[in-house]
Symmetry: C2
Subunit: 423 residues, 2 copies
């Protein structure tokens, strides 16, 4: 009886021939990281096949990072995708390809590229309004700028980590409550002229550790400083999509955030999925964004006669310790990734290969569609406990009713490394 071949991916598999996401992997036998493509429950060693079959893209695929492939541009992306599709589906290649498929559970996945700049947007109207109500009660939930520009801020690229990396509970400052359990407060042995207007903070391991389920966009083709990237050039610059967990310390955030935005509440870790889904795999998932309630400036306006369906119908799922807690719908995002790219560069800022920009928390209109515990629990908790495992998965409609699986992002919360002595 012939052994089951990893090439025989069942019809309808979310990682079948219409998907083909890229990642950086290695094996026990060959510990050099190189470009792999997920196919069913296996990883195709594209570098090995390219070498064996004499592909013109062999050097790109043997690189120890996705960056050269990402930088090569859309015609090359399409050419490589066509080649990989042929390798996996043309019976003529079967004998050459089969030895280079490795079972998913036998490979190590690596950080797929070095992150250049990491920008985190805030593009779900539902999320922004929910957060506004919790953090700024009594005020308009949306700030006056929200419907006119995709609000975003720069995050820390050096602490973007691949799925599976444990996340250590951060320590930080927070506004002190009367019953705060924090171990540390400013030393009363050296009091200054304390002002009642400036009450001292507490310090300790975060007691409100949270997640944010997001979608990340990976820049492949760089742009020139001084030259904005128009909304319509989005697919010439963006290589693909990954899922993102923007871990957040909700006790640190409100204390530090005014006036220059979040910093320590976010910078300790951001997890990304290790499989980058090419935009070409998401063609069938393109969809119109929500109706624009306010007129937009020309560089953002996607309502004209040349309007493209710049939204993506990605269905996310958030699980904590195996239990599904939310199903955030990416199609509900007000601002599209194309608008975000146009805004990010309209001032002349350039993008580089490896820049990552994330959507902001994906939240839909329903309470079981929100992408953070802050919203799920209306600011009351419970929050993440040590040992909790958070998984964010997703899929998109593909051609002919198949699903395109998005590579998941998962991580486990580790106890703080902080001790009172270290503070």
């Amino acid at each position: 009886m012939p052994e089951h071949s990893p090439l025989d991916v069942p019809e309808g598999d979310p990682f079948g021939p219409h998907n083909l996401p890229y990642g950086l992997f290695s094996t026990h036998a060959d510990t050099n990281p190189r470009v792999g493509v997920r196919y069913g429950e296996a990883v195709l060693d594209t570098a090995a096949v390219a070498a064996a079959l004499g592909s013109p893209h062999a050097a790109l695929l043997a690189a120890p990072t996705l960056a050269p492939l990402m930088a090569a541009g859309r015609p090359v992306w399409q050419s490589v995708r066509a080649e990989v599709t042929a390798w996996l589906t043309d019976p003529a290649h079967r004998a050459a390809v089969e030895p280079h498929l490795h079972a998913l559970d036998r490979v190590a996945m690596h950080m797929p590229f070095e992150v250049g700049d990491y920008v985190d947007f805030y593009s779900s109207e539902h999320h922004a309004a929910n957060v506004g109500r919790i953090f700024r009660p009594g005020e308009e939930p949306l700030t006056p700028n929200w419907k006119h520009l995709p609000i975003g801020y720069h995050g820390r690229s050096g602490t973007v980590v691949p799925a599976g990396t444990p996340v250590v509970r951060p320590a930080g400052q927070r506004k002190r409550a009367a019953d705060d359990p924090a171990a540390e407060v400013p030393s009363p042995a050296r009091p200054g002229p304390a002002s009642p207007a400036l009450p001292g903070p507490a310090f300790g391991p975060s007691i409100r550790l949270d997640i944010e389920a997001e979608v990340g966009f990976v820049v492949g083709v760089p742009s020139r400083m001084g030259t904005p990237v128009p909304r319509t050039a989005f697919r010439d610059h963006v290589f693909g999509v990954c899922l993102v967990n923007d871990w957040s310390a909700r006790d640190v955030q409100p204390w530090e955030q005014r006036p220059l935005g979040p910093h320590q509440a976010k910078s300790f870790a951001t997890s990304i999925g290790t499989w980058i889904t090419p935009l070409d795999a998401l063609e069938a998932a393109r969809t119109a964004p929500p109706e624009r309630t306010h007129p937009l400036l020309p560089y953002l306006d996607d309502t004209g006669a040349d309007a493209q369906p710049d939204g993506y119908d990605l269905r996310l799922e958030v699980r904590i310790n195996g239990e599904t807690v939310s199903r955030p719908p990416f199609a509900a995002m007000y601002w599209t990734a194309a608008q975000q790219l146009a805004h990010m560069t309209v001032n002349g800022a350039s993008v580089r290969t490896g820049d990552l920009y994330a959507s902001g928390t994906v939240s839909g209109p329903e309470q079981d569609q929100v992408g953070s515990l802050l919203e799920l629990t209306k600011g009351k908790g419970p929050w993440l406990a040590d040992g909790d495992v958070v998984e964010i998965d997703g899929w998109a409609p593909g051609p002919d009713g198949v699903r395109i699986g998005l590579g998941g992002v998962h991580g486990q919360v580790q106890p703080t490394g902080w001790t009172p002595q270290q503070a």
Copy 2:
């Protein structure tokens, strides 16, 4: 008569043997960027001398970036500095060294290292209070957190450019004034259900282009994620200092800033000096920071028995079109670079070789000591005009009364590349 030798640097020269800043340079004859040391009005090709004299550090110095030297750590920094000092001052080396000195005006200076994460702090009490009065009139000038943590935010590392790079006037959104000259407003042809609470912005080239005179700290030795860097380890991680101009669009900033901080108002360009002054050259400039008016958490507290003079007495000078407009005193900064590093990592965030963090605008208590036009003109302008040349220079007291010159950062404002068609 013997020709003047570039080795004969006049006594008291701010780039004499007590300074020895590092940069990345190339020449017409050898266009490979390599590590140079400024000496008087010349640049020493350290790579060439190291090769000629068989230095153990030859490979570090021949690298096309300062990064390997930066990553090598303090003992190596001190060893290389001792070696370079000997090359430049020991008559025995004169014949070997002299051919490898190039006149400053005959070399090209390059970006000295690739910037990892760029964090911009806000650590001058005078600046923060001045800005608070202008941007939030009627409120307390300092936010309640200001005296408890060094406020900072991540900036865009991909648009950090070396001194001399022209800076193109950015375009962006701003709150619309009745008499606003902006060319573009949201299209009235596609009005949405406009809300009086959400007035539309104007768009166009910035009409309030400003500078911020800052001091940057360059991380050499990386830290591990999850392990905070204590304040006292500052000089084991930070390689040196450069001057920074954090160009800012003051019309864009207040409109976009709430709630996640500045983004487009800053991300178009940040200029840094191309000479990195090693911390060891600034030993004599170490000074106590201002008196702490509020008790500090232990990880920030620098008032105890083990207190170190973590401030630096750097004297900045800002010139616009050759005219000195301000002399900001770095010694007046409330938060030190050591505290900033401790804060940046107290949540477990790591630092990498090439991370750059800047002090925030350096402003002293006097009106002729402020580091921005916003403060110099009390928010009224005039602002930068096209063609304006901005130069930030500085020096520090060295041993025996000599001055340690800081490499200047300069840049010229170029007209916008924006046209109404592009928006």
